[in-house]
């Protein structure tokens, strides 16, 4: 489906801006509620993320001594802005992407990484030791999952013969679901998304029991709120991306809803199932297992393309 709307509305209300933030909050609630139910708890009320954000926005913002003021205030804004920008290139809510060009898959990939890098820089900008350890871990983790995650996103791109998310989306709708053709790639992509969002078991960068709150320890009020919204937005975009690439594309809003919710169910289950990995275990797992699996998948695709025409 196409959206005949002027650009300003696309940017500020739908599918960018307000709609994206609102759906981010809803998905955050669904995620927390599912994990709570898996843990035999009742879980938060439906408006919980909204109340959290309003409260944080109304709170005092303390700029700690030793931090560079401009960076301290600027980083959360850059993080949220880049996450929101990424939404313009994915088929959000089942509508065609607002903009698309050859190579937007890579652009979205890096726009999603900007958030993580901003969190790392925000931690390194402080002199608090917990922030600095958190920042080190955040940046270490980004180097471990990024390569396998990119390899996993390459699979569908090669299959579709295009670097544009919209084209891959159309290809995925017309062909057999890529989760069947490239199961390894799907698993790596889904777990890569969990690593990107620092969900358990990859939450070593913000492990409360060891390093207080990781890179964001010194943030209070608005900065923290913006980073949290940014993460929620990234959750929605990540789920959209994976279901567009691997789960047979997104043709309409209903398609979008059930596919992302199924993915969310799986990630919430994984979160409840596994305990936190140490940072060295995370890196080891990604480079020893994740990257290898990604390469294997790539090899299989290339072989398939070479051998396929022979039969």
């Amino acid at each position: 489906m196409n959206l005949p709307l002027p650009s300003i509305i696309l940017l500020l209300f739908f599918p960018g801006g307000l709609f994206l933030i609102a759906s981010g909050l809803v998905y955050q609630w669904a995620d927390r509620k599912l994990v709570a139910r898996f843990q035999n708890r009742i879980g938060p009320r439906w408006f919980q993320p909204l109340a959290d954000v309003f409260k944080l926005l109304a709170k005092e913002e303390i700029v700690p001594t030793g931090a560079i003021k401009g960076l301290f205030h600027g980083l959360p804004i850059v993080a949220l802005a880049s996450a929101l920008t990424a939404a313009l290139y994915v088929p959000l809510a089942g509508f065609n992407a607002s903009y698309s060009f050859q190579g937007d898959l890579i652009v979205v990939f890096y726009l999603l990484s900007v958030l993580t890098i901003c969190i790392g820089l925000a931690g390194a900008n402080n002199i608090s030791r917990f922030s600095i350890i958190g920042a080190t871990r955040t940046l270490t983790q980004i180097f471990s999952y990024e390569a396998p995650f990119l390899l996993a996103l390459l699979g569908p791109a090669i299959a579709a013969g295009s670097w544009s998310i919209s084209k891959i989306n159309i290809y995925a709708q017309e062909n057999v679901w890529l989760i069947l053709a490239q199961p390894i790639g799907f698993v790596v992509a889904l777990i890569g998304l969990m690593g990107k969002l620092e969900l358990p078991p990859f939450d070593a960068p913000e492990a409360e029991t060891e390093i207080v709150a990781g890179a964001l320890t010194e943030y209070s009020g608005r900065g923290l709120a913006l980073f949290r919204i940014g993460k929620d937005v990234e959750l929605v975009i990540g789920l959209t991306l994976i279901s567009a690439l691997y789960l047979g594309g997104l043709a309409n809003p209903l398609d979008f809803l059930w596919k992302t919710v199924v993915l969310l169910l799986v990630t919430a289950g994984l979160q409840a199932l596994f305990a936190r990995l140490r940072i060295d275990q995370t890196v080891g797992m990604w480079w020893r297992v994740g990257a290898l699996l990604g390469l294997l998948q790539l090899l299989a695709i290339i072989l398939g393309r070479l051998i396929g025409p022979l039969f």
Binding site: A36, Q48, I62, E208, T217
Partner: protein, 156 residues
């Protein structure tokens, strides 16, 4: 901790104030500090945060960083050693912030009353918004105390 508005009250201002109060009541993030208790109260606080009582249904979340917290749950009498630390944690929290004193010791010094190494109860060091008596108080009592504190934040 009066956050009353000093600006003239317009309808817009009223809506914003209502929204702020609503958000504050529904999303209290807590941090927990033991300034010299026997650890009995702390075990009860941890029990309160377990899935059995599930405080997340009120929006309560235990935070590690004072910068993220709204409510400081303090237990035990304040010893001379931990007085500075308690004050420092309180000062690191962003406004608006509240203190809940848990256990008889936090209220009055309890069994440690008159000890040579004790400054006294928590309210001799910090402004306390809610007291929860008991030695140690049950998780239900702690929940009731926190809910009572949140109810008191409602605009009259």
């Amino acid at each position: 901790m009066d956050m009353a508005v000093k600006t003239p009250s317009s309808p817009m201002q009223k809506v914003m104030d209502g929204l702020r109060a609503w958000a504050r009541i529904n999303s209290p993030w807590v941090i927990h500090y033991n300034s010299g208790s026997c650890n009995g109260c702390d075990i009860e606080i941890l029990a309160t945060l377990t899935p059995r009582y599930d405080l997340e249904r009120f929006g309560v979340k235990l935070q590690g960083s004072p910068r993220h917290a709204d409510v400081l749950i303090a237990t035990g009498p304040v010893t001379r050693q931990s007085r500075e630390r308690l004050l420092r944690i309180y000062e690191q929290m962003p406004d608006p912030k509240f203190v809940v004193a848990v256990g008889s010791c936090g209220l009055s010094g309890g069994v440690f009353h008159g000890c040579y190494n004790i400054v006294g109860s928590i309210d001799e060091v910090l402004p306390v918004s809610a007291y929860i008596p008991g030695c140690p108080p049950r998780p239900e009592a702690i929940i009731q105390g926190v809910v009572a504190l949140l109810q008191s934040l409602k605009p009259q």
